[in-house]
Symmetry: C2
Subunit: 430 residues, 2 copies
Amino acid sequence: MNSIVLEKVKNARKSFLKISVSSSKERNNALETLITLLKKNKAKIISANELDVTTAKKECISNSLLKRLELSEAKFNEILSIVKSISLQKEIIGKEISKTLLDTGLELTQVSVPLGVVCAIFEARPDAVVQISCLAIKTGNAVLLKGGKEAKNSNSILVELIRESLKANSLPEDAVQLLDSRKDVQELLSLSDFVDLIIPRGSNEFVKFIQQNSSIPVLGHSSGVCHEYIDEKADIDIAINICIDAKCQYPAACNAMETILVHESIANNFLLKFAKELNGKVELRCDKISFEILSKNFDVKKASETDWKTEYNDLILSVKVVKCVSEAINHINKFGSKHTDGIITENKETANNFLQKVDSSSVFWNASTRFADGYRYGKGAELGISTGKIHARGPSGMEALTTYKYLLKGQGQVVEDYAKGIKKFKHINI
Amino acid sequence: MNSIVLEKVKNARKSFLKISVSSSKERNNALETLITLLKKNKAKIISANELDVTTAKKECISNSLLKRLELSEAKFNEILSIVKSISLQKEIIGKEISKTLLDTGLELTQVSVPLGVVCAIFEARPDAVVQISCLAIKTGNAVLLKGGKEAKNSNSILVELIRESLKANSLPEDAVQLLDSRKDVQELLSLSDFVDLIIPRGSNEFVKFIQQNSSIPVLGHSSGVCHEYIDEKADIDIAINICIDAKCQYPAACNAMETILVHESIANNFLLKFAKELNGKVELRCDKISFEILSKNFDVKKASETDWKTEYNDLILSVKVVKCVSEAINHINKFGSKHTDGIITENKETANNFLQKVDSSSVFWNASTRFADGYRYGKGAELGISTGKIHARGPSGMEALTTYKYLLKGQGQVVEDYAKGIKKFKHINI
């Protein structure tokens, strides 16, 4: 065991025990201090980021990665407004969730409390460091951060300022710490006594690796195979508009559409118009019927069985014609990843049937799958999107960093009296 | 892979997709049918249980296990009343948790839904089969059951009747299935695509084994090291009464007290009275100061470092004298298992400090730790007690078998319009 990682994790646990009982005001003050410090150190931050960008360019990283890494004037201001918006969010810690009078003078209260020590692993976006740290501070948690190595210098100065903000408000600075490498993360996987949640935002393989190599709970998604089903009662223009958005607006996103399912009675009409609209921009991998419809006029491929399970993250789309909404639902529940799936229809009954029966974290009616996102859902900031069903499901924000505990206030009661029947429980919700 | 286990698990998933969209009335009817069937088949059930008891006696199982196994007249009636009480619980599926207007005509609803496929492993108590199955049916889930092998015949007939009740109400009978052996459970651990939650109620080692050998989430507790802290402002009589209950009322329970922490200013007075009251019934393992106090008049042992982490499940208690409430809190947060810990004091401020700072799922003031239990908490029936912080924490009932999903209803909206700034989100809670 690398003693440095163990020490960081133990310090995180100690810091959690302190920050978790700090006041709402102290935590919000730390966020306000951070805004001041970010403004004051803007030049330093930008130049650290320029160093990262220069190194990254030398290493020929992809344009999209470079775009995420770069801290433009606009992105810097966006960071400031994210910190502000998190500080303005209403307090969710210390809330009474339920209250039961077990018996006279024996009162049980369930209250929301911070979760604990969280480890977040994310891409080379310096803004993610600030966003995740601020969500953790706001909710009284401790966080260990492992950002993309390309953002090393940017992350380093940002975390320094975050820790300074904590210290300036008498909060434990080790509530926010940086991990140095993926090796550190690997070592942390066995420390289930100290770490309560891992939030990996890397590749699908990386998320799966973590799920399979740690008994620490994981919040994340290992894949996003999202569908749109075009019902026989779909408005064709709406359907085309939504499907173009779901596939093309940002194909690398986990909430982009990977498979389109089309009702047989509308298939000919819809598919020809849709393919014409796509104009060759998207590679179509078709089942037998859709291939028959499209191959006369367009250059399309045949889908294989593995296509139905594949997250392309690219301008590729699998296409299947189905006989009815039930076939579409069954296909999604069999091949989907429980992420986000939609139906396009003008028929309310069919829509409700679909909304109820599709077993995914987000199910949409007449809207693009791309809406599945913490910011778009109004959560202020997003920690990650969970395809698990436990704890947090779907796009997750602050609430995913909380749990609850039961407080029982008595006057000396013992169980023996109830076991013997001398006393009886009242169990009244109060 | 044992194809029988895989088939059972796949059938459970299929049955889940059906029962999860059944009506509240259908599920409650199945519970009512079960009551009728149990009454009708009482003789058969009792004789199956007698067979189990006879076999168990031949194999010389412990008296306490025998007591759990035996289905007396009283216990049979208790089963009937548990089924009735579960059927009468208010519906928790399909509830609106939150609703947000993202934009005009774009409405996001978060609704509670059944969790999925659950695997429960439990002790040789036939009543547990009925309780867990009924909680699963009530909440629209599918369950795979592995009960103690000693209850084989009892479990078999009970599950048969439960499945008959499902079938009689057009619900999928494979929503409740029996697993045959622990080997089946072991094979199931890798089927994370089909199983959403494991609830192990076996030994600590067994729970740990499951946590470490599966990426399926686990609801359970691997240990229960519970404390009572006797503050300087404790009422001595209350403290003694509670500690006797917490240690002796049922020492094998996970919520029994294992360590007592005593404030130094009250230590002499309290410990001598407490030891006198125990009258040699409990082995005391003492730290230096408490040993000095007690060893003159009583036969006590010295505690070693491992005692502070040990769940005795027996009439043994470790004893430590502390300087202040903070030392007690630190000791509990360091050595405890986040299960249940209490303070005995008449000082409200000290109590609140303790209630806030102890990082356990249940924290008590002037009450025995033995109250930490689903039935005593008024949950009707208990699935298990969770020491994890994710999803369900503490004594868990029906609510631990639910999750939620997001439903988005639109009119053809696409993300591109918001990305370009043509449209703006409203994000109004409605």
